[in-house]
């Protein structure tokens, strides 16, 4: 691909996944700039572009019909589209609102009626345009993103894990949360993060979403019987990052 042009775009999100790239630090980031040409990156530069681009990293979920034209324009201009971060890949944490009615009043109180808060259900970018690759995670794994970009630079197919976090816990010999009387979503959560949370004694929340064939019936059973969660908790536990997958996608 030579020295590809790369642009970051954002929709409904916190832009934390853009910030995560800057967390690579000066040395790594400046070296990266020798190999890619970043032409739009709102969290790090003022310039924008209307030109064709090689790689578009689209952050955030689709929550407004008015955003459709902009997404379609990016798709037309980009050779490769990467859904960047969990909001973009599955709807992520934004999708929690798809199954709530009073969230605006709850969060914004008397300001709930402000016009800029009006939005539709949160959906993945792939519900509007064709997505070539997914960079999962809340936030993305900056190291994984580097590998995805490197593979594209070299004309190779990026490999995105489709096995559960349990594999990564075992590879680093982490004591299973269930063996310390805790619960965890690692059995159904998509790996690729390196499983840092269980290694620090924190249950996996599936912030990269689920593997493509999660056994959710078994998960509820295990959360209840082994994790000690109540029936309702076991039902809602997996919702945080995967509301569109557990409770059904909005039509």
């Amino acid at each position: 691909m030579g020295k590809p042009t790369v642009a970051f775009f954002d929709f409904a999100c916190c832009e934390g996944c853009q910030i995560e790239m800057t967390n690579l630090g000066d040395e790594a980031f400046l070296e990266l700039l020798n190999h890619i040409d970043i032409v739009e990156f709102r969290e790090a530069m003022s310039e924008t572009t209307k030109e064709p681009i090689d790689i578009a990293l689209i952050e955030g979920s689709f929550t407004r019909e008015a955003d459709r034209a902009r997404l379609e324009d990016i798709r037309r201009r980009a050779k490769v589209v990467i859904a960047y971060g969990q909001c973009a890949t599955t709807g992520g944490i934004n999708a929690l609102k798809n199954h709530q009615k009073d969230y605006k009043e709850f969060v914004y109180g008397h300001a709930a009626g402000m016009p800029h808060l009006a939005s539709d259900s949160a959906r993945p970018i792939s519900s509007v345009i064709k997505v070539d690759y997914n960079a999962f995670g809340c936030p993305v794994s900056k190291y994984e993103v580097l590998q995805i970009i490197s593979h594209l630079v070299h004309g190779k197919e990026p490999v995105i894990p489709d096995y559960p976090v349990c594999m990564e816990c075992k590879r680093r010999e982490t004591v299973c949360r269930y063996h310390e009387g805790d619960h965890c979503l690692g059995q159904v959560a998509r790996a690729g993060c390196g499983a840092p949370c269980p290694a620090s004694g924190i249950p996996c929340e599936a912030c990269r979403g689920f593997v493509s064939d999660p056994n959710l019936a078994s998960l509820k059973k295990v959360l209840r019987e082994e994790g000690g969660l109540s029936e309702r908790r076991a039902e809602t536990k997996a919702l945080m990052f995967t509301a569109n997958e557990t409770a059904g996608r909005p039509a």
Binding site: A28, E31, L32, N34, H35, L146, Q147, S150, H151, V153, H154, K156, V159, D162, Y163, P164, C166, M167, K170, R171, R172, E173, V175, C176, Y178, H179, E180, C184, G186, Q187, V188, V211, S212, D213, P214, N215, A217, S218, L219, K221, V222, E226
Partner: protein, 344 residues
């Protein structure tokens, strides 16, 4: 083979001197479990462990390992083979090491595994505490462990140290050993025989009968789907298994986009996409698509496919899979006893 004795009093100084002289890997505590790690202080060594999370295969076949480093057109294999002592391996894990030795040696010999294996002195030790999932007392009884260089058994007055190879005998110089009395060797034999009866779990059928039965029920799709109903396809039962040895190979680029590594990491046949292969032109096929098929494959591998080659089942009864499976469906004693009783 010669048998030596070291008193309980002299044992800790022996370990201390060994640690000073060699790189020593042994069982240590990790939260409420145990793992094999580099031991830097004698008091960290926990020969009273029940079972480790990962088997000692990780010492010869690390979970993630660079195979080749490249830069531009140049490349070089990276084989690490630092001399080391792997201390405190239970007999069931020694059996598993014998199996991976054979599997990594045949056909395309694995230079990374073999280099690490040859650089390592394996000292087995008797099981002092039995894991609550162990069933090594009732599987592969006629398969003797043989890949170790020495065997350490705690008896009342100290430790009997039986050397099997010159590598094992080379450790004698680090401790105040003397030739063991016949009674001390007999006491060690008794300790190792008695513990076999202490497993909380057991498989009530000989390996040949289990293998025969597995072939009989191979086509019983409903049985396997039922057994695998709660399976997460998480692969935990595979990767913690001392006789599983599958790996995936991927490339990794460094930031400079010129150099990088070709690395392997443990793979697992229970995961959903393990058997997904390319048909060319972007098309793929998964030849073990259902949970039942993948679940069956593990039991066939452990109980039937490799028996002839290995001289017994490819399962040593450590019970790690039973413990690692959060859905509690992986336990070989439970599954095998169920299958043996399934309607014909």
């Amino acid at each position: 083979m010669n048998a030596y004795f070291i008193s309980a009093h002299d044992f800790k100084p022996f370990i201390t001197r060994l640690i000073e002289a060699r790189r020593v890997i042994g069982p240590v505590a990790k939260r409420n479990r145990f793992t094999f790690e580099r031991v830097t202080r004698a008091e960290d060594l926990r020969l009273d462990y029940d079972v480790t999370i990962l088997p000692p295969k990780k010492i010869f076949f690390p979970p993630v390992q660079d195979l080749v480093h490249f830069e531009g057109e140049r490349y070089a294999g990276c084989i690490e083979a630092e001399p080391q002592v792997l201390l405190g391996v239970h007999f069931y894990d020694v059996k598993a090491i014998d199996m991976t030795d054979q599997l990594f040696r045949e056909k395309f010999a694995d230079p990374n595994y073999l280099a690490a294996r040859e650089a390592t002195t394996v000292v087995a030790s008797n099981v002092q505490r039995v894991s609550d999932a162990a069933f090594w007392g009732s599987i592969g009884a006629d398969v003797a462990p043989k890949g170790h260089d020495a065997f350490l058994t705690m008896i009342e007055t100290g430790y009997v140290f039986e050397t099997r190879t010159p590598k094992g005998a080379a450790l004698l110089e680090f401790g105040r050993f003397r030739i063991a009395e016949k009674s001390e060797v007999a006491a060690a034999d008794r300790v190792n025989a008695e513990i076999l009866e202490k497993c909380p779990e057991r498989i009530d059928h000989p390996a040949e009968a289990v293998a025969k039965r597995l072939w009989e029920v191979f086509g019983d799709e409903a049985l396997w789907e039922k057994l695998a109903e709660d399976c997460f396809s998480c692969g935990s039962c595979n990767v913690i298994c001392p006789t599983c040895y599958c790996f995936d190979v991927q490339d990794r680029w460094n930031l400079d986009q010129k150099s990088g590594a070709r690395a392997r990491s443990w793979d697992a046949c229970l995961t959903q996409d393990f058997a997904q292969v390319s048909l060319g032109a972007g098309a793929t096929e998964n030849f073990r698509e259902s949970r039942g098929e993948r679940f069956r494959h593990r039991f066939m591998r452990k109980g039937a496919y490799l028996n002839k080659k290995l001289g017994g089942p490819a399962c040593v009864g450590c019970g790690r899979c039973s413990q690692a499976c959060t859905a509690d469906i992986a336990s070989p004693p439970k599954v095998i006893n169920k299958i043996m009783g399934a309607a014909r």
